[in-house]
Symmetry: C2
Subunit: 425 residues, 2 copies
């Protein structure tokens, strides 16, 4: 008798953890992802701001799973799930349509940016989800400095040196903090015609305060840290329009060449093809055992899942939730294979961290709340610990230490060009 086939869609924190948790199970696993690498997303903003290189925060999925004999890796973009026929449809690395049958399915396809119905803003204000996004954001930031360095018109120069980050969650705070650091330390030696004081970094948040997922005192500490490194925090400010060269907030227009989006995410459109009920953000309402209603062999985990059973609120879209769900779904599949009943999922909250620039962070570890340098060191230690691959850990430690001491960001390279603008002839 052949072993049950488990298909996993997505090799992010959730999918990859599930695959590893099935290493010794009597099943055949196939993991499908549209990228060839697993990405350590919490450090993606470091690639966007030129402190780290892509290879330092990503690792080929095949390399991670090379020694797991029961797991096959497929490069492909899943387009639909057919729960009737129990198969997934995808197009593969050669860009041909293909399908894969399954006995059990784990959907960990994640989320992407939401522009709240203004998809036309995406081109003007890119978000940060993939390595490609990070390199595009890096290119825009560096090209803005290059443009400002040669700009003779004062208003155009001011717009080139204004960076607006929309969204005051952890990603927005980290991104704004990192750009603030660049402004203070990197620009002065390299660009002769730019003074650090000319650079404006704005963090715009619709809610009354930033870091809504953190306690208020920590959010306040983060806000002060941001202001110390020159980031202007605009809370209670709704972005009503993004146009080339400016951001609109009601009657107010801020001229800015570089606008970055960290305001919201929406679940992968794959959620719809599963056929179950979705929440407002398009996430799949999962059962207590992480299956979906009517499909006891289909599990949905990570950012794609809306799990409200524990607190009444959905669990946040962070790596620890996805990883714990991945292990739980894997164990439930093993139970199902044995004919045992599935168990309910319980999330163990170990805390919440966000970093602000070079030596400041906030940490909410339940009873313990940290801010400043101590929180930053905790942030560094935890992130290095969870970086996949021993080599990556060594290189990241070295790179951080180097950057910390010398302010030298090695990866400040512009590779690629803006496809939308051709040079004048």
């Amino acid at each position: 008798m052949s072993k049950p086939r488990v298909a996993i869609i997505g090799a992010g924190f959730g999918g990859l953890t599930a695959a590893r948790a099935l290493a010794n199970a009597p099943v055949e696993v196939t993991i499908v992802d549209e990228a060839n690498h697993h990405l350590f997303q919490p450090l993606l903003y470091q690639v966007a701001t030129g402190a780290l290189s892509p290879a330092e925060i990503a690792r080929p999925i095949r390399a991670i799973l090379a020694r797991q004999a029961n797991c096959e890796v497929v490069l492909g973009k899943v387009t639909a799930v057919d729960t009737q026929q129990r198969k997934i449809e995808f197009h593969d690395g050669g860009l041909r349509n293909d399908s894969l049958p399954y006995d059990y399915l784990i959907v960990a396809a994640g989320a992407r940016h939401s522009y709240f119905g203004h998809e036309e803003w995406e081109r003007l204000a890119p978000g940060l989800k993939t390595l490609q996004d990070a390199l595009e954001i890096r290119r825009r930031i560096l090209m803005a400095f290059e443009k400002a360095d040669r700009e003779t018109d004062a208003a155009a120069k001011a717009a080139a040196l204004t960076f607006v980050v929309v969204g005051g969650g952890p990603t927005g705070v980290e991104l704004a903090g990192a750009i603030g650091e660049i402004a203070r330390h990197l620009v002065s030696p390299g660009f002769r015609n730019i003074s650090p004081s000319e650079i404006r970094v704005l963090l715009v948040e619709n809610a009354p305060r930033i870091l809504l997922s953190f306690p208020e005192d920590l959010a306040q500490a983060a806000c002060e840290s941001l202001r110390r490194i020159g980031v202007e925090v605009l809370t209670g400010s709704l972005v009503t329009g993004i146009e080339p060269g400016r951001v609109l907030m009601g009657d107010r227009a801020i001229p800015a060449l570089t606008v970055l989006w960290a305001a919201g995410v929406v679940a992968s459109p794959l959620a719809k093809s599963l056929g179950g009920p979705l929440d407002r953000a398009g996430r799949v309402m999962v059962n207590k055992d992480l299956t979906i209603p009517g499909q006891p062999n289909v599990f949905v985990i990570g950012d794609l899942a809306c799990f409200t059973h524990q607190t009444g609120h959905p669990l946040p879209g962070v790596a620890p939730v996805a990883m714990q769900m991945g292990v739980h779904a894997a164990h439930n599949i093993v139970r199902a294979c044995d004919g045992q009943a599935l168990k309910d999922f319980h999330y163990l909250d170990k805390g919440n961290l966000a970093t602000i620039g070079r030596a400041a962070a906030v940490a909410d570890l339940g009873k313990i709340k940290l801010s400043g340098l101590v929180a930053w060191i905790a942030w560094l230690a935890i992130h290095i610990f969870f970086l996949i691959g021993f080599r990556n850990r060594l290189v990241a430690i070295f790179t951080w230490a180097w950057t910390y001491v010398t302010y030298d960001r090695a990866a400040m390279l512009i590779v690629g060009s803006d496809p939308s603008s051709a040079p004048p002839s």
Copy 2:
């Protein structure tokens, strides 16, 4: 009285060395390059084959020259030189047209691939000159393995696993050697459906032997090293056509999905606008003092210059030639500022090196000829020594040691997509 203005076109080995040699001269220097980084080209094939990351072999030009008070850096693509008006025309980082007057000019714009009149081959067989080229070649190599892993048709699988490198100079030898290494060590754990023995790497050279710039016995040693790691060397073979999926050599057609071009270079088209005589490869025939006929304030150096005065043959397009020329042109400008006569250039040949895969190389150091492991260690030491930036040297040493011991190529990431093919709907 204002200081003389020196414009330098290109921040490769020649231009950058010239800029640094003018650090203490009573001149104002402006260096213009279309990339924001200086690239250590001898290691570019390592980026293409996933062993190194872009940031490990490149450094922002602004960072390199940050402490040189008399030098300004401009990101721009030079489109023409107007020797009458003594100015260069370029479009800048904001993609606007601009111009820059000069008193002295150093043209170090380098060379690019030549397809010998078959420019339509470029799309099918990319060459290796920029970081972007390297990332595109990496993407093609990795996508070929991905395609082969899921291919059920035997002929199509064989074509996906055939890699043809056209051109048996040092770049072609290094590229073929590195792909041979990948075939043997990287593929087996990661790709379940590919056996290393199915992979073919062909090095095609029109001349009767490879490495024409090296002595015959060293070329023979290189050839044997290549064969040992499974690279088929086809000498005396002229490529007569490149079509999607195959390479033609006379009547013979080799089905191959991945074709890489290392066969020839042609000088930057900027050479034409200088108005002097050019050689067959489009290089500028320079005077003994590196100026061009009739323009005693215009110097041409590096791959763009055809300097035949010493041996009757043009000096080769390698980094040591460009760097020595850069220093010489800088010193001649200082002499001219002082009203002294210009001196003639003499190239001091320190040797010639090429590497083949993991632990083999050939070195022609005049009286001493090395091959095998000793030459490889010499190659490694010299390349690390000349890598710009102390951090880069440390990281490169670490990465090599790591790769050598573990066969783990960290940078095997596919970033970016093939713009010419859209997924099927």
